[in-house]
């Protein structure tokens, strides 16, 4: 085993158990290689120093200070947001409706005069009632002409 491989296995052994043969090979190598033994001691000492440092403590009254900051940054509660919006929505809606009504009363153009057909329809009168006599008269003329021609055909037929 090379020292490089021994170092790799040594470092891996800090995080997980090495398989039996690898562990035995590493132990054998450390038994014969003074440099790797020294290196193993140094790594072990380094890790021990890092771990032994202990976790430093935050400054005093940590929670009290955090609590004050949390009050300013409370997460938005969707229910509260909707409730607040709803309360604001009522007067806004009422004023919008009132505004619309006022606009309707004051700004819409005055009602235009009705056209003749509109007026007739409104009074449920037939719009072609006035023209009916003319149509009737026209139909009479057409019937007379038709009789005339028919009698003419009978004369032609006899001939």
């Amino acid at each position: 085993m090379t020292c490089r491989k021994a170092e790799r296995w040594l470092l891996a052994s800090f995080d997980r158990d090495l398989p039996g043969p690898s562990r035995e090979a590493l132990t054998r190598h450390l038994g014969v290689c003074a440099e790797c033994r020294k290196r193993a001691t140094e790594y072990g000492d380094m890790r021990k120093q890092l771990g032994l440092g202990g976790l430093p403590e935050p400054l005093p009254r940590f929670w009290e200070r955090l609590e004050a900051r949390l009050a300013d940054s409370r997460p938005a509660d969707p229910g509260a947001v909707w409730a607040r919006l709803w309360v604001r929505a009522i007067p806004v809606s009422l004023s919008l409706i009132a505004g619309f009504l006022i606009a309707t009363l004051f700004f819409l153009p005055a009602g235009a005069e009705l056209t003749q057909p509109e007026a007739l329809l409104l009074t449920e009168e037939n719009p072609i009632a006035d023209t009916r006599p003319f149509i009737e008269e026209g139909r009479r003329e057409v019937r007379d002409l038709m009789i005339l021609f028919a009698s003419d055909e009978r004369i032609i037929g006899k001939r």
Binding site: L11, C33, R47, P58, W63
Partner: protein, 189 residues
């Protein structure tokens, strides 16, 4: 009361439940922040910002996931953002670390040993600061905070193989930078 119940209650707006969660995690989050800024006031401020973010994001938290992992992810992302934006970001050079190799005392009295141990620890932490952020972060999570290997992978949202290689490089790099304080390096390639 177990963590899941506390999370559920905190999601429903119970301030006391959130307070209990804060007390469970504030030191860990603080340690993570402190590992990067090395200033207690700044780390405290960062921790508060992270926990405010957590509080605001609580309604979107899925109960079936692990709260600790979720919180750490928020913390890690916030610290990364901070490092990106902050002009206060301090680059520690090896000149700041101290002089000479650290001798391991043999047979000295307990007080001297303790002091030397403290000094050695301080050096390790200062050297840790000189590593690139991604290596500093992974070493902080794994070796300083002692989080399980798998959880580190979940927090960083990377494959376990990536955690493996990143940890390997980070430890090697840390040791290499520590060499002047440890002794002479050697060995077979």
């Amino acid at each position: 009361m177990d963590e899941k119940t506390l999370v559920e209650q905190a999601r429903r707006g119970r301030q006391d439940a959130f307070e209990a969660l804060v007390r469970m995690y504030n030191q860990k989050v603080f340690a993570l922040a402190y590992g990067f800024v090395r200033d207690r006031a700044a780390a405290d401020d960062l921790t508060q910002e992270i926990l405010i973010k957590v509080y605001q994001a609580l309604p979107s938290f899925r109960v079936e996931s692990e709260f600790g992992t979720w919180l750490y992810r928020i913390a890690v992302n916030h610290v990364k953002d901070f490092l990106r934006k902050s002009s206060r970001r301090k680059t520690v050079s090896l000149e700041d670390v101290g002089d000479g190799p650290l001798a391991v005392a043999d047979g000295a009295d307990a007080r001297i040993l303790e002091r030397e141990d403290e000094e050695r620890r301080a050096v390790v932490y200062r050297v840790l600061e000189t590593l690139p952020p991604k290596y500093r972060l992974i070493l902080t999570l794994r070796d300083v905070e002692g989080l399980p290997y798998e959880e580190v992978a979940r927090i960083l949202a990377v494959a376990p193989g990536t955690v493996d290689s990143r940890l390997h490089r980070a430890r090697k790099m840390l040791r290499k930078k520590m060499t002047p304080y440890l002794g002479v390096e050697g060995g077979r390639p």
